[in-house]
């Protein structure tokens, strides 16, 4: 499929007339695998916000990401009777590929997240890796060098360093060729997640997808083709997706990334799902009043709204929460703090400030339940939180 993808990418660049923000239309084509189909794609501009809910313990990475900025990406989509295809294009000044001989380089990469099919589709899963009972499927593509990874095949005979094989000349050349033939050429992974630390790789090929990324002038273009329906997702009408990109030069990996909020892709010609659109709608509250309410209710006693607030590990940081969170999620978190618990750090990492307790096998948030506030105040707080987001680069 690589050949097809390369030609897809070149066509995609030509068709990059950006439409209005956050409205992505998947154009129906006969076959998404047909390179020519991308000439029909409509590209939309989306914003990818830095993920700052958690600050991890890598000192240099934290320094490199002290004042993270949001990024713009262009997203186009196609679908046919069976598959959906996405193309994501984003600026990145350097091509970063994790080397096979370095402990301190990191790869550029991108991921597309879909909401898992559940009985109750709304509200959508938590944007960061899903939540209990609301799984997400994440397709990840990283730019890597050819990597020989025999562990998956339990193949130990070819793990030997070539210098230790004890053979020379043609025999050594044959050994090298055998090792090279076993190399992984593509770092593509699919995961299912129900919240931080639950992400599990799908290895049984029950998700048939193909992702690829190519570096062009000053940026990457990534594509993903996956079925509209499999045992994990069932996509029709309005498809919620989220897109993330990693920047290797900023030591990006794991949560150190830029991600979009849930975005709606309308499958052209299919009936739209009003519930998804409703969930993604803006809040009608008054942000200025919301700011006062946040101060009055002491949110910054645990959450960082400004850098001078509580220590970063006490609760998820709210500094960029407006960029990637939906209004529905913010509203829910205020009135039902345990509906989605950002499980955050390992509980040993900050054992005196647990974000949750486990009661009867369920995570119960240590946050106060703010359902006692009146509806208008909650809307105002949500409106204010939606304004908390990093500037675009």
């Amino acid at each position: 499929m690589n050949k097809v993808l390369t030609s897809l990418l070149s066509l995609g660049v030509a068709a990059s007339a950006a439409l209005a923000a956050d409205a992505i239309t998947a154009v129906k084509v006969a076959n998404v695998a047909d390179a020519a189909a991308w000439s029909k794609a409509k590209f939309s501009s989306v914003t990818l916000y830095p993920q700052t809910a958690i600050e991890m313990n890598d000192k240099k990475a934290n320094e490199a990401n002290e004042a993270p900025k949001a990024k713009k990406a262009e997203v186009g989509a196609l679908y046919d009777g069976k598959n959906i295809a996405l193309m994501v294009k984003w600026a990145d000044g350097s091509k970063d590929v994790q080397g096979a001989a370095s402990t301190t380089t990191y790869s550029d990469g991108f991921a597309v997240q879909f909401a898992g099919a559940t009985k109750k589709a709304q509200p959508l899963p938590y944007i960061g890796m899903g939540s209990d009972g609301r799984p997400v499927v994440v397709h990840l593509q990283k730019a890597t060098e050819k990597v020989y990874e025999p562990n998956g095949n339990k193949d130990v005979s070819t793990q030997l360093n070539r210098q230790q094989t004890g053979v020379f000349g043609k025999e050594l050349a044959d050994y090298d060729a055998k090792v090279a033939s076993l190399a992984n050429t593509d770092y593509e992974r699919v995961f299912v997640g129900e919240g931080f630390r639950s992400l599990t790789e799908v290895k049984d090929k029950s998700i048939q997808s193909n992702a690829a990324m190519t570096y062009g002038t000053n940026g990457w273009s990534g594509t993903l083709v996956r079925p509209l329906k499999d045992e994990y997702v069932n996509l029709s009408g309005t498809v919620p997706v989220s897109i993330a990109v990693w920047d290797g030069s900023k030591m990006g990996r794991n949560g150190l990334k830029n991600l979009s909020s849930w975005l709606a892709i309308s499958l052209e010609g299919q009936k739209a799902n009003a519930a998804v659109a409703g969930e993604l709608a803006d809040s009608k509250g008054n942000a200025a009043k919301g700011k006062e309410a946040v101060a009055a209710n002491g949110c910054n006693g645990c959450h960082q709204v400004e850098a001078t607030d509580a220590k970063s590990f006490m609760a998820p940081s709210l500094k960029n929460v407006g960029g990637y969170s939906t209004t529905a999620y913010l509203r829910e978190s205020l009135v039902k703090p345990s509906a989605v618990v950002v499980s955050g750090y390992n509980r040993n990492a900050h054992s005196n400030t647990p974000w949750y307790n486990v009661e009867k096998g369920k995570r119960v948030s240590t946050m106060t339940d703010y359902s006692f506030l009146d509806k208008q105040t909650i809307e105002d707080i949500v409106a204010y939180l939606k304004t908390l987001k990093a500037e675009v680069e």
Binding site: I54, M56, N57, D58, K59, K60, N62, Q98, G99, A100, A101, S102, T103, T104, T144, V147, Y148, E149, P150, N151, Q159, L160, N161, Q163, Q164, F168, G169, L172, Y187, V192, E194, F196, R197, S198, L199, T200, E201, V202, K203, D204, S206, R253, N254, G255, F313, Y345, N346, N348, A349, H350, S351, N352
Partner: protein, 365 residues
């Protein structure tokens, strides 16, 4: 905390820095497939830069409040050293090679780059000792706490800390979190790897390769709750074996008998300064904490007792007459665990290391 805890004691008075342990480990585990630069076991000269370079200054571990501290991930070239090899192939093949025998990279750094240098001025007051280091299989591991994927686990059966290679995605926060920098990133498979305390050997009643091969017989291995084990006696009964940099808050389970004997200093004329000692006790206090003073006092008292009376259980123990006394590994215990879990007693008792902690057959979760 695990149900039981395996521990190792290393007697620094007896380490001769021969690196047999290093080689035993390397040939068994780390001479291939992206692990070439790793030393799950290393022996460094103290005072010195250590391995990786200046590991004590790279952060990680916990502060007094129990919060994980940020750390730095060492660089292969600058901090570990790129392992070099030689042009055997062209030489063996009779090919012309103008440089003759030469390494394939220009070596700029490596483990033990400063071996035997130590501190002080030769010959007046120079000193050093050897510090062998493996993973401490901590009770509160920094690596485990740092992992955002729960890919690191501590075995219930014996407290061995392992990386679930199926869950590990190579984020490397564990390396920043470990204050000992005893967990490593394998760039070839993009996963973290570390000392596994030779658990496949342990489960069969054999000590870890580093301990078995130790020429100086400095390493004792056993369960900390086994009062007959020498590790119990050294750590709990006589309290002469102490954790390395316990101030990092990870509760390490490798213990050290501090070096007690060092020669006297020389004056400007090259004469012995009576009563002086080259090894500053402050250095030992930095490594092993304030309890080092009592440990040294006990060791000296027992040494004196042995000299005078010929009897000292502690001295006999440290002489390490029999491997069978030094290693109490309780093969029956593992057999019992295997039986309880209805497993083949020859297979590892805990298959998570090979099979993945959360990944069920087929890859669903």
């Amino acid at each position: 905390m695990s149900k039981r805890q395996l521990a190792m004691v290393m007697d620094l008075n007896k380490c001769i820095g021969c690196q047999t342990c290093t080689v035993a480990c390397k040939t068994q585990w780390t001479n291939r497939n992206g692990r070439e630069y790793m030393y799950w076991n290393n022996v460094e000269t103290y005072p010195g830069t250590g391995y990786p370079k200046n590991w004590m200054e790279l952060g990680g571990g916990f502060d007094a409040a129990g919060d994980l501290q940020p750390g730095v991930i060492p660089n292969l070239e600058a901090d570990y050293g790129v392992p070099w090899d030689y042009n055997y192939e062209s030489l063996m093949g009779g090919m012309s090679d103008s440089n003759h025998f030469h390494p394939h990279v220009s070596p700029t750094w490596g483990p033990n780059w400063d071996e035997d240098q130590g501190a002080g001025a030769f010959p007046q007051d120079n000193y050093f000792f050897y510090l062998p280091r493996i993973c401490n299989h901590c009770t509160n591991p920094g690596c485990l706490s740092a992992c955002p994927r729960d890919a690191i686990f501590k075995r219930e059966e014996d407290g061995v800390v392992l990386v679930d290679l199926d869950r590990c995605q190579g984020y490397r926060y564990c390396i920043a979190g470990c204050p000992y920098k005893k967990i490593y990133f394998n760039p070839k498979i993009s996963k973290s790897e570390k000392c596994i305390l030779c658990f496949p050997r342990i489960e069969q009643g054999l000590p870890p390769a580093c301990a078995q091969q130790c020429v100086g017989r400095i390493r004792f291995v056993g369960f900390l709750d086994d009062e007959e084990s020498q590790v119990y006696k050294l750590v709990h009964k006589y309290k002469v074996a102490l954790g390395l940099r316990s101030d990092y808050g990870t509760q390490p389970n490798v213990y050290y008998v501090p070096p007690t004997e060092s020669p006297a200093k020389f004056d400007a004329e090259g004469k012995i300064i009576e009563g002086s000692t080259r090894l500053p006790v402050e250095e030992l206090e930095k490594l092993f904490g304030p309890a080092v003073h009592d440990a040294i006092a006990t060791l000296k008292a027992e040494m004196k007792k042995r000299k005078e009376t010929g009897v000292s259980e502690l001295m006999d123990l440290l002489i390490a007459y029999q491997h069978s006394d030094m290693f109490r590994l309780d093969n029956n215990y593992y057999q019992q665990v295997a039986k309880e879990n209805k497993r083949n007693p020859l297979a590892p008792v805990d298959t998570r290391y090979v099979a993945g902690k959360f990944t069920k057959a087929g890859g669903h979760h």
